[in-house]
Structures are given as C-alpha cells and as structure tokens.
C-alpha cells in the first residue's frame, strides 16, 4: 500500500495541539482558488520550476534522459508526457530551480518518519496530523496509518475538506482524536464557483460526523471579497447551531502561495486579500458570544 505525499512537516504547531508532524497527502477533490498548497491538488507527481532562479544554462536539458525539457523564449518548458520523474534535472540544476512535488511512501516509511519525533509529541501533548490535499481520497492508506498511530498511542488529527464518502469518515473517526474540518462557503452556488464542487456533501458529512465524534475544530478560511463578511459568519453560526462543535479556527487568507503557482506554471488568482484585523476580531467575538472557543490562525 502506497500513497503520494508531498511533504512531511515536522515541528508543525498550527495543525492541532502541541508539537506535531503534519503529513500532507497529494490530491484533492476541491480546487479552491485561494489554495495555499496548489501542489497538493493533483494526485500525481509534479515538477516545480522556479523561473526566477533559472539561468537558462541548459544543464537540465542535457541531464534529462527523456529529452523532456526545452528552452522556449526566456523560460523552460517541460513536456510532462515525456517526464519520468527520475529527478535528473533536479540533481543537475546548479541553481536549485527545479523540484519534484510528491513522493510515494509505504505505510512503514511514513510511520518510521513520524515516529522520529515521538518524544516531542509526548512532552508537548502533540501528535500527528493528516492533511493535504485531502486525506480522505487515500481512504485505505489513511485508515491503516491512523490505526498504526493509535497502536503507538499517538494523538491523531485529520484535516479534511469533508468532501467524501461518509462511510470513510465514519471508519476513520474511531482512530481520529481530532478533526480539523474545513467549511469554506455556506452558499452552494458560490461554493461551486470558488471550489469547483457543491458543499452539500460537506455540510451533510459535518452534521453526521458531529453526531458520532465530539472533538471537531471547525476551520474557516477567510478571504476578503469572497467569504469574509458578517452575513457569512452569521450563516455559519446558523448552520452549526446545535451541532456538537465547540472550537473554531479563523484562518485569514495570505498570499504567500503566489510563488508556488508560478513554479507550477499555473495562474494565480491575485485579486484576493487578507481581511482586516478588526474584522477578524469582530468575527471572533461573534463566535465567542455563542459560546465557541475561537482562535485566529491554526
């Protein structure tokens, strides 16, 4: 059993309690236009190319065993149909302009890696967070992974967009100490517009999950001009009223992912902004008034 993982982030302190290791799975059913990890969206490996570091020296072109790279104007073009992801170009590049996103891991390999930081989990009340991309699309792997972690008595968190088969969620809930459950937009049309999918399943799954699990942190990405307004916050409050949810994380948008889009050669929707601090504080108060514990940031 293997899964594509694009990062194993140690000393992760914003994805659940304490010092954690966050395992980022590759592949996501949503295509949020504000996504901070665009390299997580596609399931397979990808080449990241940093044009700003490239001197067009051609070393990578000579190194590539498949003749997949060529110079086009002032940039390099990679023919992805030819690329076999052996990393010849990555090793050859003297400017560190090329990277491969995504690596196949077996369960043993990923367990070995996350167990390295066990002492920190113990002393900080931390553990392992499964994130992505979307962990749910690696259902079998994720379930086995969580089981192994619980066998080792390690605190587990799953960061999910909630878009998946509830049977999977139900199965992994048993081994998940904490769900970090994203809710992006309550209005379905808007949701489809900005994420590419309907939110019906997401909301439905959240409702069902809250019946069988009592440790759910709701995570709200807040993007100025998209969902950072009081009406939307009121909608969210109405939606989750009565659900067994007591913690909310407000995640203000930031544009540090801009360079990642460039490296992937994909357009960056640049007209989004971080909501003003006063707004965030106001929303925090709105949730707090209803009895929720709120944190700005992860």
């Amino acid at each position: 059993m293997k899964a594509y993982i694009f990062n194993i982030q140690k000393f992760s302190v914003h994805d659940g309690p304490g010092i954690r290791t966050t395992v980022f799975f590759k592949g996501c059913p949503l295509k949020c236009i504000w996504c901070h990890n665009p390299e997580s969206q596609s399931k397979g490996k990808e080449i990241l190319y940093d044009k700003s570091k490239c001197s067009l020296c051609g070393t990578c072109i000579r190194a590539c065993r498949n003749q997949a790279i060529e110079i086009k104007g002032k940039t390099l073009m990679t023919n992805m149909d030819k690329c076999s992801f052996k990393g010849d170009c990555v090793f050859a590049c003297i400017n560190s302009a090329r990277q491969i996103a995504g690596k196949e891991y077996t369960l043993d390999e990923v367990m070995k890696e996350v167990l390295k930081d066990r002492v920190f989990y113990k002393n900080s009340g931390g553990g392992v967070t499964l994130s992505g991309g979307e962990p749910l699309i690696h259902a079998e792997f994720v379930e086995a992974f969580l089981k192994e972690l619980k066998k080792e008595n390690i605190h587990t968190a799953v960061d999910t967009c909630g878009y998946g088969d509830f049977k999977v969620i139900e199965r992994i809930a048993e081994y998940t100490d904490l769900f970090l459950y994203d809710l992006k937009i309550t209005d379905d049309e808007k949701h489809i517009l900005y994420t590419g999918v309907s939110n019906k399943i997401i909301i439905d799954n959240l409702f069902k999950l809250s019946k069988i699990h009592d440790n759910i942190n709701l995570r709200l990405p807040l993007i100025e001009g998209i969902n950072a307004d009081e009406n939307h916050i009121l909608e969210v409050l109405r939606l989750i009223k009565g659900m067994n949810i007591n913690k909310v994380n407000l995640l203000p948008y930031h544009d540090i992912a801009r360079h990642k889009y460039e490296k992937l050669g994909r357009p960056f929707a640049g007209n989004m902004e971080k909501p003003a601090d006063e707004k965030l504080i106001r929303y925090k108060e709105m949730f707090e008034k209803e009895g929720y514990m709120v944190k700005i940031g992860g």
Partner: protein, 790 residues
C-alpha cells in the same frame, strides 16, 4: 533606562556607556614589587605577597549610589594588565586603542610607562614569552596554521567557580585551617614538606590580602561618609562600612554581606591572575537563599531591597570587561564578555530535591530587567524543575537576546559521574564559561584550546600539506586519489587527527608545567577543595579534581564533508576524488555541478538522517577517544568540550573550500549546531541529530537555535519552546540557547549600526552586542538557519 530602582538605573547607565580602557596601576605596582623581592622568597610566597601588595596599595572606588563595592581596577570598565602573563608591546596597545571592535583606550602616558618600566622588566620574563620559547617547531607550525589555539598564551588557567564555602566561613577561618595544615607537615617523612609549606604560607598570605582589602574599603566608606552631606547617602556609606567590617574576614551574616563577600572573592580571583573565563558564583540562588529567608522572617529585608542589591551585583559583573586580548587569542574569543556564568534553578545540591526558590525567580526578574551582557546567566532545568519556572525562563529567552541559556541538570550530573566524581560533588556542579561542566569549588577544569577538526580533513586531502602556510605540517597519509574506499580515507583522517592532537598535548604538557612552576594561584587555591589538604597549588594539580579540556570545533562541518565524500564519491560514484580535489583547489569555480551535489543533494547532519548522523557519531567517538582519559602532567585527566566561542570564524578563515560546499575562508559550524542552511527539517530534527552523540561523555556541548519572533509568539509559543527543551534534555542534550530575531532586523542593523546600539544577540555560550562583533561573525549569525514554526 533599565533598572528596578533609580539607583540601579543610574549605575547601569554608567556601566553600559563607559568606554573600556586600560590602567597600568596593577602592572606598575607589580613591577616595582618584583624588582625588589624576586628571588628573595619561594615562588608561591612571592606571588601571594605580590597579590597582597596590590590589595594594600591599589586605589579604591566607591561609585555614587553603589551598595556593593569593589572593582578590578580604578573604576567601571577599567581593565588592569598582567605583564607577568602577557607583556603587551606598544604596538599591541596601539591596536587595542585603535581597533574597531573590542577596543580599550590606552593613554599616551601609559604607553610611555609601558615602554620605560613594564616592557624592559617583563619582555623576557612573561609567561607568554616562556611558553612561546618552549614550544617545538611542529607546535608553532600547527599554531600558525590554525590547527588549534592555546588558551594560556595570554591568560592564566582559571575557569572555575565558587561553591558555598564562602557563605559559611570567613577568610580568618580559612587562614586558621591553612595554619593547621602547616602545623601538621611532616618534615621527617614527607619529601615535599618544604614545598607544601611555601604553598600553604602563600595561601595564608592571600587570606591576609583579601582581609586587608575589605578593611580598607570599610575605612574608605567611613571617610566618604564623614564628608558626605546627604544624610541618606551618609547612612548608606556607613552601612557599606559595616558590611566590610564583617566580610571577607568573617562569614556573612546578612543577604547584603553574602553578596559583598562573593564580590570581594571575585575581585581577588580576577586580579590575582587574569584567569580565563573570570570566575562565577555558580549556584548563587542556592547559596544566598538562606540569608534572604532568614532576613525576610526577621523583617529586615523584602523583595524590593533584595532585588535592588542583586541588580547592584549584576552591574558589578558588567563593569568588568574581559582582560584585553590580542592576536589569535582575540580571534578565538573576540568579546568583552568574561564568561561569569551564573547557574539558576536545578536541584538543591544538599538534598537533590528541586532547587528552585524565591531567589531563582528573582534572578530571572533581574536578568530580564538588566539585560546586560554580563553575567552570562543561565538556568538549569531538571526533571524536578517546576513548569512555571521553565516557562518564565522561556519567556525571557524569547525576547531575543540569548539569556537565559538552558542546561540539563541530570545530564550535567551524569557527565560529572562519568568523569569519576562523587554524586555529592556532582550535585554542586554546573556549567561555567560557555557550557563547560565542573564541580564548583572542588575542581580545576582548565580549557587549553580549540581544535580545528575540519582542517584535519583538509590536511588529509593534501597529504599533510597546509596551503594556508605553505608548509608540510601534518604527516604523510597518502595521496587521496589512491584511497580505494571511504574507510581508507577515514583511516588516514584519524591518523592525521591523532598526530595533531599529540602535538597539541605535547605543548599543553609544557605549559601546564610552566604554570605549576612559575605562576601558582594561591588565592584561588584557598577557595578550591583539595589544595589545602594536598599543600599543592590550583595550577599544580592541587584541587580535588583536575581536568583539562580540548574544545572541538566544527563537528557539523566535518560530518557534512565526510558525508559528501562518502555519498558522492564512494557510494553513488557521482564524481571522483580527483574531481573533488580540483573543485576545492579552485574554490568550486567552474565546478558548480559538484558544489550543487554536495550542497543540495547530500545527506547532512541536523536532519535526523542516520546516514549523516552515523558519520557524525564515528567522528565524535574517534575524537573523544583520542583525547578523553589521557593523563595530564600534574595528575589531571583530559576531556573534550564541543563549543566554539568565536573560534569557528577564525578556523574557517585559515581554510580553503571544503567538500561540503563551504567556500574558502567562510566560518565553520558553531558548537554542535548544524551547518548554516543544512538543517532543512526544522528544530525537532536538529535536536534529534544533536542528541545522538553521547553528551554525558563530554564536558559540555553547545547548540544554537534561531527563531523568528513571530514563529514563537503567544502562550503556545512559550509552551512549544518549553517542550522542545524538555524533549532535548530527555534525549540527553547538555545545553540549548536561542536567538529570536529576524534576518531583516540583523541585516538592517549591519547597515545602520547607530540605530541598533542595544541589539544583543547570542553568539556562542554568551551574548554580545551585535555592533561589537566583527563583520564575518555578524554574517555568520545572519546565516544561521532560522527555524520557523509552521
């Protein structure tokens, strides 16, 4: 202005704004004394009488508003010189006066006195002269090539710490005990009885010297009081006189007298000789808490009063710049800091229980408020340490200027036990200087110099030839292109290493003898267990325990270098040894592809990657086993430390490019920290890698971690750093310290030093003003990997 009270605000201001300068008072008194008495008495008596002469005749200083009195020289930031150890040339003095960093102002008339009185007498008599005259050509070649440094070249052995005895006894008591030892001498059967008598007499005279100094202060304070018109100050001066009537002759009775007692002792130790890493009160909170408790119960002291007195003591430490250094000694320790490293917290040394008390918290408050370079304050964290105390310490450390550093109590004790000390003595142990471990008040643990391990590989790759000096300084271990395997190379490296260590230790043996013979330290001997009983000096193996350290520099650099060779040349055949040698020779110019592979695609230390970390372990074990346990000429034992002070910059400057991609002349990695930019997996991976070496078989290791301020914000940030520390210590780590400052600020500070006069950063086992650091070191600190919390 910083300071808990108006008084300490003013005193701190003077301490931090006065330009360091040199006074020849001590040198002149000493020269006059030597001209008269040299040859008339045995050496220990001569040295003791010289010390007494200084204490009798030197100028006294009581600053406006001071409550604790005593300075090493004529006032704050004035440094005495020690021509018997290092006789500065006029050129040295000009350099000290003119240099941009770590300057000391020298008066023109003093240069004249130096030329007319000091140099003619001491030029051929100083220890520095004796040492350099006695070294072999091999030693001189290695020294010139920067294979190692020599601590005793300009300064005396020292590097020890007070224990609790000075709070329980006065110097009249110590003198009585010494006289009893003289009474017991057996001239019939003991062939050394005569030497012992001279030593013990010297020690008794040293007691007189410090008692006289205290009495003079009592008298001087009364004199000032008689002229004082402000009634409040008059009363204070009489109070000072009252304290100096009691200490140091008698044991202290009050909290203030306990602090004054320590301070007199500190001045005594650091003016008898210019001991390396000055001196320190060690476990201060443990020793002075009983005084505080008693007085608090009696209602004669409260938090505010005690806090003010502690701040007065802190300022006293800061008033004393390290003795002026020149040449290589300045390069290995380029700072005003004199490394009086105070240990707070840990365990109660008498009971083994948690030692954190009210004074421990008060010391943290003082450290936080004073924000001074000296003393170098640290905390000891034991498994028994309350979480609150750790959190408070982290909270201060997070402010970004490097204090307090964190030490692992259980590991410190284990180190001492492994080195053969009793549990009882080990509990009185702690860190001093930068990170070095010893049994306070019971051990002479003397640092002898830094060892440039990465340069040993450079020699190996050049068959023993040094390109920097253009000489064959190592042994011939073969043409590296003929090595058939990584093991062949490693074997040659170890042979070369063994040779260099032998050269160093041969030199050490001579220097140790020279100090034992010519520079007994009779006052230090009074304060160190074992000297009185053995009738032998601190500098002649008289202490209960005697240890000499060689400090290992650049473990990360050498690990990454060997990893680069093993991984790319032998395991994966990416290029040949010939290619690498050419790349190194050309400083990687024209060899960008090789540099890319070794820099970016090779396993490196600091990432919890066993490939690199196992290489580190191989090197660590070899270096340690080649040094640890060797006997010194006066009956001590060798140990290793893993710390750099500022020597990693100097050692890098004498080297060409190295196989890990480091360019010629660039600094080596500091302490046991990973190479700059090599640790890409975050602080937990760094800690895991660092913890793989057996810290408890060393005398201390140093780990620097740099964070951006935003990455450790909030209450959670404190908890996370606290958990990091607890985890590192659970894994057996010795020490960790933090720089919390962002790169942008440092870059800006480099450009606009005038706007950052207050910016303090952690360097090695100490903090320093960013502006006081030479450019290469500033760059090095900027390049240290910034760990971010994600």
């Amino acid at each position: 202005m910083r300071g808990y009270t108006e008084r300490t605000k003013k005193l701190r201001e003077i301490s931090t704004t006065t330009q360091p300068s040199i006074s020849l008072e001590r040198a002149l008194l000493e020269t006059e004394f030597y001209e008269k008495y040299y040859g008339t008495v045995e050496t220990p008596v001569l040295r003791a009488l010289n010390f007494k002469n200084y204490m009798e005749k030197r100028k006294l200083y009581i600053g406006e508003g001071e409550l604790i009195v005593g300075e090493k020289s004529e006032g704050p930031q004035v440094a005495p010189t020690f021509p018997e150890l290092c006789c500065h040339t006029i050129e040295d003095m000009t350099v000290m006066n003119d240099r941009k960093y770590i300057s000391f102002k020298v008066k023109e008339e003093d240069k004249k006195l130096q030329a007319e009185k000091i140099i003619p007498y001491w030029e051929k008599r100083s220890m520095r002269h004796k040492i350099l005259e006695s070294m072999t050509q091999e030693w001189k070649d290695c020294y010139a090539a920067g294979m190692f440094t020599e601590f005793m070249e300009q300064r005396a052995p020292g590097h020890t710490v007070a224990d609790g005895k000075i709070y329980q006894k006065g110097f009249l008591d110590f003198k009585r005990e010494i006289e009893e030892e003289i009474e017991k001498l057996d001239f019939l059967n003991d062939p050394d009885a005569y030497d012992k008598k001279a030593q013990l007499e010297g020690m008794a005279i040293s007691c007189d010297a410090i008692i006289i100094y205290g009495k003079r202060y009592a008298q001087y304070a009364r004199e000032l009081a008689s002229k004082e018109t402000n009634p409040k100050r008059k009363e204070e001066l009489l109070w000072i006189a009252g304290n100096c009537d009691v200490v140091p002759a008698h044991k202290p009775e009050t909290f203030a007298q306990a602090l004054q007692m320590y301070w007199f002792v500190h001045i005594g130790i650091t003016t008898e000789l210019n001991t390396w890493d000055s001196f320190s009160p060690g476990r201060l909170d443990q020793y002075i808490y009983p005084f505080y408790k008693k007085e608090k119960e009696e209602g004669t002291i409260d938090y505010d009063k005690a806090r003010e007195l502690l701040e007065c003591l802190w300022i006293k430490f800061n008033n004393q710049p390290a003795p002026p250094k020149v040449g290589v000694t300045l390069k290995e320790s380029g700072t005003y800091t004199d490394f009086a490293n105070i240990n707070t917290g840990g365990i109660n040394p008498w009971t083994g229980e948690n030692g954190v008390n009210e004074i421990s918290y008060m010391i943290l408050d003082v450290m936080d408020e004073m924000k001074l370079l000296q003393p170098s304050s640290n905390v000891q964290i034991s498994v028994k340490t309350p979480h609150e105390f750790l959190k408070r310490a982290v909270e201060i450390s997070r402010k970004g200027w490097g204090q307090p550093a964190f030490y692992n109590t259980e590991e410190l004790i284990q180190e001492l036990l492994n080195a053969g000390k009793s549990l009882e003595d080990a509990r009185f142990g702690g860190a001093s200087g930068c990170v070095e471990t010893g049994c306070h008040g019971r051990e002479a643990y003397i640092l002898t110099g830094y060892l440039n391990v990465p340069k040993v590989l450079e020699l190996t790759l050049n068959n023993g030839f040094d390109r920097y000096t253009g000489k064959q300084i190592g042994i011939k271990t073969g043409n590296p292109e003929d090595f058939k395997s990584y093991e062949d190379l490693f074997h040659a490296f170890v042979k070369q290493l063994n040779y260099i260590i032998d050269v160093k230790i041969r030199g050490n043996n001579v220097i140790e003898k020279l100090f034992a013979k010519h520079m007994p330290s009779t006052f230090m001997s009074v304060l160190t267990d074992g000297c009185k009983e053995s009738g032998r000096d601190y500098n002649a193996g008289g202490a209960k325990y005697n240890t000499r350290y060689i400090q290992i520099v650049g473990i990360a650099t050498i690990t990454d270098c060997l990893s680069a060779i093993k991984y790319n040349i032998f395991d994966n055949k990416k290029f040949t040894m010939g290619d690498l040698l050419k790349a190194l020779e050309s400083n990687f110019e024209g060899y960008a592809h090789i540099r890319n592979l070794v820099l970016n695609h090779t396993p490196k230390y600091g990432n919890d990657d066993d490939y690199a970390d196992n290489i580190m372990l191989d090197i660590f074990t070899r270096v340690r086993d080649l040094i640890r346990g060797r006997k010194t000429v006066c009956g001590g034992t060798y140990q290793i430390d893993m710390l750099p002070t500022t020597c990693h910059v100097y050692f890098g400057s004498v080297m060409g490019a190295s196989p890990n991609g480091r360019l010629a002349g660039k600094p080596l990695a500091d302490g046991i920290s990973p190479e700059k930019g090599a640790d890409v997996k975050g602080p937990t991976a760094v800690i895991k890698s660092c913890a793989k070496m057996d810290h408890s078989s060393t005398g201390g290791t140093l780990l620097n971690q740099k964070f951006t301020p935003s990455s450790i914000g909030g209450q959670e940030g404190i908890e996370n750093v606290a958990s990091l520390i607890r985890s590192y210590f659970e894994l057996g780590g010795h020490h960790i310290q933090f720089n919390v400052i962002d790169r942008q600020t440092l870059l800006d500070a480099q450009k606009h030093p005038e706007e950052y006069k207050d910016l303090i950063v952690r360097v090695a086992g100490y903090s320093d003003h960013f502006n006081n650091l030479e450019k290469a070191l500033q760059d090095e600190i900027i390049e240290r990997t910034e760990q971010a919390f994600n």
